[in-house]
Subunit: 244 residues, 2 copies
Amino acid sequence: MVTHSRPSSYAVAMEVRRWLREGTYQPGEQLPPEPALATQLNTSRVTLREALRELQQEGLLQRRHGVGTFVSEPGRMKESLHLNFGVTHLIRQMNRDPGTKEASYHEEKASDLIREHLELEDDDDTVIVLERVRTADNQPVVYSQDYVPRSLVPNGALPVGESIYRFLRDVCGRTVVFGEAHVKPGLADKRMAKLLDVRVGELLLVLDQIDFDERSQPVLFSREWHLASAFDFVILRRDAGLES
Amino acid sequence: MVTHSRPSSYAVAMEVRRWLREGTYQPGEQLPPEPALATQLNTSRVTLREALRELQQEGLLQRRHGVGTFVSEPGRMKESLHLNFGVTHLIRQMNRDPGTKEASYHEEKASDLIREHLELEDDDDTVIVLERVRTADNQPVVYSQDYVPRSLVPNGALPVGESIYRFLRDVCGRTVVFGEAHVKPGLADKRMAKLLDVRVGELLLVLDQIDFDERSQPVLFSREWHLASAFDFVILRRDAGLES
DNA sequence: GTGATAATAGCTGTCAGACAACTCAAGCGT
DNA sequence: ACGCTTGAGTTGTCTGACAGCTATTATCAC
């Protein structure tokens, strides 16, 4: 039996995240002491601390030894690249209305690049390609191509709906837990300009991303062209004990 | 007395990081069980687990309940943007030789943008500007502007040497612990093309970054123009309990 | 009064030992 | 050959306590 249920510290972290999202505790505010919080969340201090550490590393919280735990200031950081998955969430967090245009899918033989990234075997190199233009308040802002291994998808199933992550989880039984994104600048060519309704030569941010499930197996490769003018891409960078 | 000594879990994390860097444990390999590791590191299991969780969130380790802790595969991820500070480290981790050209500094009155980012008061809005062309194996790859509040720098001290982070720590007594970077695409104009020895219109990645010390006070604003062709910018993205 | 110094309350960090939950593989029976 | 049970090994969680840090308050010398 394979369960893959998440540890309870995960649920605790999620609950606290909800508090922060809903403003139960305001930026700059101090959280109750750990023992009280643990009681309130019906868990132990150990588990609570695991969750708090997670949120701290995500930049949502800040802890000071001997003083307390505080809610971080910038609400902006929520749209940070190191956290969020999916264009839908990105757009929604800017308080704009996400939508999809020009969605189409087809099957094809994976290219060498994609076969490598998705770790496909020679006898299993068919991928389902989903191409979409994503909109915010009906304005096109992202063009995306998603590649899912054919072998992961049950026969007849097709990626519909906003979120391909939900499709992977609910239909394919694969939950994406982390991804590796490669960022580079780009320019709109003729086709891209038409799709995104901008002029040729407009600045874009290109994201090549590989998403992995709990077993660290790649389940999705996606390439996204983001309109630079529409987003503010934030990355939280942390000291990693460089020494020297 | 203000100490700000880091918790011992920090030192433990650093030690394990060194093991990974030096290949004491290879990618894919399983680490010894936590009780053994804790003994070996002369700490408790609780503290060890804090450190492991940190490394896990950085993508260096992976843990599976009931199975073990494993070293993550891709050595590439080490040059990930969410971790590393400073161009010097970035270049060094690509096994290239970092250098500096065209370094110059001056003082100036901070612009509105910079005054806002560094949270400067009206009577304290002088900044020291450090401009540099950074090279990898003598090839120019980054042009950077660093802005440090004048009030942080002891009289007469000047930012020399490779790392401005070390200058801030050793000379100004401010240790940078995290930064917020804004990424956007850019093009080389005439001046930039000359500095970086590329043609006008070359694709660049522009990083605007604000760095904070332990007290979450901004101590450095920097703007970096990276040659897109010279780097592979990787971001590790994590599921953050989005639900819905 | 006033400024330095010491006590104190409140909090996070760390400790020890135990048990629960999970995964995988070996052994067993059918 | 197949499914089930058992067990060893590992991470996850629990309890209760104490150590260490920080900011505030109280104390004392002057």
